[in-house]
Every structure is written in structure tokens, then in C-alpha cells.
Amino acid sequence: MFFIGVKDKTADAVDRVALFERLIQDSYKPAYGLAYRLTGNASEAEDLVQESFVRAYRFFHRYDESLPFTSWLYRIMTNAHIDSVRRRGRLKTTSLEASGTDGSTTWDLPDLESSPDRVMLQDSLDEPVQKALLSMTPEFRTAVLLADVEGMAYEEVAEIMRTSVGTVRSRIHRGRKQIRSYLLKHAPQTYRSYCDEL
């Protein structure tokens, strides 16, 4: 009986690793995308994704299957991100100036005179939008990313962030206004051209 118990435990661990390898394959790309938007650079994004999967694996017994795995993973990731920003005690404003130096976030601004279409404008706004996101508090950034980039409903965002729908509504609204102010200040021409194209 003793050996059966040990054997079962080993079998459970093997099953869990196999399951996680599948879950990693299914979700690592969108998870990396969110981590990149949250942190603003490739190296921190990889660390965040890695930490999230390891935490998810360790606490898998707490996973409530009523929530999609990706939502649960995002909850772990956003908590880890908010904790990390708080631990550092400052916003990631320094990395705004440094982005692009590691080769991971280099944007080539298109020549707007020769290619004034919306897709090109959107591409050229990617960098200022990312900078605007990084200038916000992690709570606002997370709410805006989940709602606008991931396309989640307020209730799903509230579920992931473990807060009320009212708080989510307020964070998204204030977050969007901050991004808009940033774009109007730092990329006014491109942003206005983009809005006119719509």
C-alpha cells in the first residue's frame, strides 16, 4: 500500500508535466504577447511568462476549471507583474527611454507622405502606444490590455483582476484617456492622421 501511494504520486507528477507541456504549447504565444505589452521588453516578458507557468504548475491544485486556463494564467501573470512593479517601487519609466537599445523594440517609422494608409499609421503608433502603456500604473495597464488588446468583457477582466466591474470600468476609462493624452503630446500628427483614416 505504501508503495502504491508513492507510485500514484509519481504517476500524478508525470501526468501533470504532460498536461502542462500541452498547456504551454496551446497558450505560450498569447501569454508572451500579453507579457510583452505589460513589461515592454523581450527579456522581462520571457521572465514573466516563465514565472507565471511555474506558479501555475505549482498551484495547479487550486485551479478552478470553471475559469479557462488562459484566464487563470493571466491572473497569475498580472498579479506577478503588479507585485514586481510594486517591489521595485517605481514605474518602468526608465525603460521607456531605453526601449529599442536591446534590439527587441525597434520600430521603423514609415514615410507618412508616401504611404498614408491606416495599417502603416497603426504600425508607427505601436511604439508610442507601448510607451504610453508603460507610463501608467500596472493596474490601469492590465485593465486596458485585457479589455482592448485581448478583447475581454469587463466581467472577465474583473474576474482576472479579482476586483469589481465598476473598478474595471473606471480603470479602463482613465487608462484610455491617459494613452490618448500621451499620443496627442508625443505623436500628435500620426495619431490625428490615424483617427482621420477611420
Partner: protein, 153 residues
């Protein structure tokens, strides 16, 4: 509803997260207020812009590195946390009981039953039928004889 109150709800309006009277009031206000209409359009454009942002491609070999991290976690966990599960406990308890029974059978039991008088055995023989006996109709003397066999000869 004034402009400030409407503008605080415009993101939720653009996201179709409002319902009932709130939705109707905001819709009515916007149709009559160019400033709030412009604000709603601006928020809609921004939402569109954010929604169209590309998903950054993960670096080469990321999934393999993630799998390796999870695998390392398993090794660390199995080294660091040895816990007695209920199944292990049940196994140990069953072994202990079996050992005790064997001990009783092999000699210690004789000493134990020596302590009982013949009178007490006969009292047992006259005891009412157990639920098991009553249910399965066994001869009431049979189990008593086998119990008496534990006594000295």
C-alpha cells in the same frame, strides 16, 4: 445627465457594457451634444487602435525553455516535500493490524484467553444471536466453538 457624468461612462458605452436606462440616457445625450459625440468617437478610435496592435512574436525556443522550467519544478518539489498521504497511512495501519493478529495467533493469544473463565465462555455461548447470524441463519454454536478453541486444552 450632464456632460461630465456622460463622459465618465463613455468608455463603457463604446464597449457596449451599459444597459437599461443608463444606455438610453447616454445615447439620448450624445445625439444632442457634439462634444460628447466627439469624445465617444475619439475613445472608439483609440479602442480600435489598441485592438489592432500586433502580438509580439515569442523568441526562438521559448516553449522548450518553459517546459524545462516546469520539469525542474517537479524535481525540486519531489526532493523537497515528502508528505504522508492518507493512502500511505492506511497501508501502515493495515500492516500493524496484521502483525498484531499474527502475534495473538502465535502464542500471546493463548495467554490472553487463559485469563477468561469457563463461565464467561458459556455466557458467550448463551448470548443472543448477532445481527450477522440472524441475517444469514448460521448455527449460533459454531462461532462459539471456534472461540473456545483458543482456550487451553
Amino acid at each position: 445627465m450632464n456632460c461630465k457624468s456622460v463622459q465618465n461612462r463613455l468608455s463603457a458605452y463604446v464597449d457596449r457594457e451599459l444597459g437599461g436606462d443608463e444606455l438610453l440616457q447616454i445615447r439620448a445625450h450624445i445625439s444632442a451634444c457634439p462634444d460628447c459625440q466627439a469624445e465617444a468617437d475619439a475613445l472608439r478610435s483609440l479602442k480600435f487602435l489598441l485592438n489592432g496592435m500586433g502580438c509580439p512574436e515569442p523568441p526562438e525556443g521559448l516553449s522548450e525553455r518553459l517546459s524545462a522550467s516546469v520539469l525542474r519544478t517537479r524535481i525540486e518539489d519531489s526532493r523537497g516535500s515528502f508528505r504522508i498521504t492518507p493512502l500511505m497511512f492506511a497501508g501502515v495501519a493495515a500492516c500493524s493490524m496484521l502483525g498484531t493478529l499474527l502475534l495473538i495467533n502465535s502464542g500471546l493469544g493463548h495467554r490472553f484467553f487463559n485469563g477468561h473463565s469457563k463461565a464467561s465462555i458459556s455466557e458467550m455461548a448463551n448470548a443472543p444471536k448477532s445481527g450477522f447470524d440472524a441475517a444469514f441463519g448460521s448455527d449460533s454454536s459454531a462461532p462459539i466453538i471456534s472461540a473456545a478453541n483458543f482456550g487451553p486444552r
